[in-house]
């Protein structure tokens, strides 16, 4: 356990220490790319790393890392629909893990195709996973070869010819993994050890060894092997995936919850990570993909922990405080709007129409209510009563009714208005305004200050602006 981080650290150290361009064997890394995420993420990759580490040289490590990245990018660009790739990538791993645990026997016995089919048939969920991985592999391979993008799905038939090759490759990988990791991995290798004998196998073995070692160091042994052993051979995904799962299971079981939590908190579906998006080299960028691949068994825990984050007392307390403050603020604003007004009502009864003499200007309501009641003959010869507002239209001073001169005179700036309120001298720009006037049920005149009528707006023709006597 204590050694977990070491691989990661070694790789990082290697990068920092040496500036050697990383261009090793593109094909091999390409294959290994998908598995890389696990290794990179957390300080606790896999238990297996111990063995392989010492053997790798700095240069090799650098090459490896570089190749992986290139492979990822290539895979992405290769055309694996980003959405598919991302989404499928994450579940695929889990599903593979599940398969690895639950479907070991099946794999061992059945040929590749049979395996894949059987798995698909049996476990609806796991099946898709396999394909997704296949996609990534294929894409990578395709990128490596510059060949056309391969369909991501489990096109077992297309690759069937390669089957022998892959099997061997697998067997190698498995053996290696078994030898190194023992325990968890050991179980799987026996199942797949079937037919390593073929001549092809040897070559792949040698070639793969490096990649496998690296992968094993990270816990991703199987995949690298696949790619290196001739693209075709490598195409076989399932066996490797199964193996990967084996080692990975152990590794991931060891991972601390922190990473999962972080991922969970990030709310990431973990899809994007597998795609290997990070172009820059920074080691920090890689941890996330690994976090994505969490053992299926841990899902519940993740959910619970994630839930705890949001249901914590701290969260509740802050939310409650914020809500209370928001409500209080609103109430305080609302408080400033009076629910009861101390102002007088806007309507006032001013007596009966016949209480006013023809031609009279009544100042009874000027001081308290702010209007004159005028009875006069209008332009059309009608005998009408209207209520004139006592505010000069210049600056709002109260004019005075000069009975001798028969005009309203403003004391402030000398504006003058005729009896009907029309301005004729001084700075006043327009006639005085009328208040709404009408008759109440009891026959009294009612003046409503809530509505005014302006002559310049032709509102004096409104029947509410005067009262015919």
């Amino acid at each position: 356990m204590a050694k977990r981080p070491s691989v990661q650290e070694i790789l990082e150290a290697a990068r920092r220490g040496t500036s050697i361009p990383a261009q090793g064997e593109p094909p091999a890394p390409a294959a290994s790319a998908p598995p890389t995420p696990p290794a990179s993420t957390q300080p606790t990759p896999t238990p297996g790393p111990d063995g392989p580490r010492p053997r790798l040289s700095l240069q090799e490590k650098l090459d490896k890392a570089e190749a992986e990245r290139a492979a990822r990018v290539a895979a992405r660009e290769a055309g694996a629909a980003p959405a598919e790739a991302t989404e499928s990538g994450k579940p695929s791993i889990r599903e593979k893990l599940e398969l690895a645990r639950a479907a070991h026997p099946i794999r061992d016995v059945a040929p590749r195709e049979a395996e894949s089919k059987a798995e698909e048939a049996e476990d609806a969920p796991p099946a898709p996973a396999a394909p997704s991985k296949a996609m990534s592999l294929k894409d990578k391979l395709a990128a490596a070869r510059a060949g056309g993008p391969v369909a991501a799905k489990p096109d077992a038939p297309a690759e069937t010819p390669a089957a022998p090759g892959p099997k061997k490759a697998l067997s190698l990988a498995e053996k290696l993994a078994a030898a190194r990791a023992g325990g968890a991995v050991a179980k799987e290798p026996p199942a797949s050890t079937e037919a390593p004998a073929s001549p092809d196998a040897d070559a792949p073995k040698k070639a793969l060894s490096l990649a496998e070692k690296l992968a094993a160091a990270r816990g991703t042994a199987p995949k690298p092997s696949g790619p290196k052993a001739e693209a075709a051979a490598a195409a076989d995904r399932e066996p490797p995936s199964a193996e990967v799962a084996g080692t990975r299971e152990v590794a991931e079981a060891l991972r601390d919850a922190g990473a999962r939590k972080a991922q969970e908190a990030a709310g990431r579906p973990s899809g994007p990570a597998p795609a290997g998006p990070r172009a820059p080299y920074s080691p920090e960028s890689r941890p996330e993909p690994a976090a994505i691949e969490t053992p299926p068994g841990s899902r519940l825990q993740l959910d619970r922990r994630g839930l705890l984050v949001f249901v914590s007392w701290t969260f509740i307390a802050w939310t409650a405080l914020a809500a209370a403050l928001a409500m209080l603020s609103w109430m305080m604003v609302r408080f400033l709007f009076p629910n009861a007004e101390a102002e007088p009502p806007s309507t006032v009864k001013v007596g009966r129409p016949l209480d006013y003499e023809p031609g009279e200007v009544s100042e009874r309501f000027k001081d308290r209510w702010g209007f004159w009641v005028v009875r006069d003959v209008d332009d059309q010869g009608r005998d009408v009563i209207y209520a004139l507002q006592t505010y000069c239209t210049h600056l709002g001073c109260p004019p005075t009714w000069l009975a001798g001169e028969r005009k309203f005179k403003c004391p402030c700036h000398g504006s003058g208005f005729y009896k009907d309120g029309v301005n004729f001298e001084g700075p006043a720009p327009r006639p005085l305004e009328r208040y709404k006037i009408g008759l109440a049920d009891d026959g009294q005149i009612v003046v409503d200050k809530a509505q005014t009528f302006r002559k310049d707006l032709d509102q004096w023709s409104d029947p509410d602006s005067y009262l015919a006597v």
């Binding site: 109430m331 609302r334 408080f335 709007f337 009076p338 629910n339 009861a340």
Partner: protein, 258 residues
Amino acid sequence: MSLRDRIAGSQVWKSVFRHGPPTDRRNRTQAILSNLYLHMHPVSVRKQGLALSYTWCMGGATFFLFLVEVVTGVLLMFYYRPTLEHAYNDVLALRDVATLGVLRELHRWAAHAMVIAVMLHMYRVFLTGSYKPPREFNWVVGVLLLVLTLLLSFTGYLLPWDQLAVWAITVGSNMARATPILGLEGPGADLLTLGDGVRLITPGSDAMYVMLGGRSVGEAALNRFYVLHCVAIPLAASLLIMVHFWRVRKDGGISGPL
């Protein structure tokens, strides 16, 4: 560049917050020291200063309640008119008509709680011996604050202008009549006499008269208490609170052993 970075990097933000995100000790310190409101609190505190069982946090509770009184009191002033015509009706309207009718009750409850908190605070300070040198002056300041707290309660009691208020203040202000020397009926009032029986302390010149602005509780008293309650005493209390807090820091921090 994320939105957060853009905001944190803007001139507006930087003109207000002179420090970086509080992710390291220096910036955390800066966050406290460069903030007018937070800098009153020490950057670091003794563990004992945080122990609720030791401090009871009654000083903090008192200050909090004081702030509650300020906020609710200011809001109440928007509607309350200290006149014989309006005072009582305005108080009723604050409860029955205005939105947030509980405001006046909040003001009242917080006032009661503040008196209790001040008492408990003094009790704790006494029990922990925190009045001893070099904190003896701060104890005195605290006593003055206690007096101001009680005066705030007393002056506020009249403002509703109901029977309870008027007669309670009548009784309370009658006590001023017993003030030594300055109270009409107090001991030593005879001492302030000019020549042959010309007394300086009369019903129209003693302590009670000054307090009420008249010989009995009337509109003058109401207005006087209103100004005292809303302006004069809170200002004095604020000043003393600043001194009090400042001395806490200067005298060795919150009630830690010296």
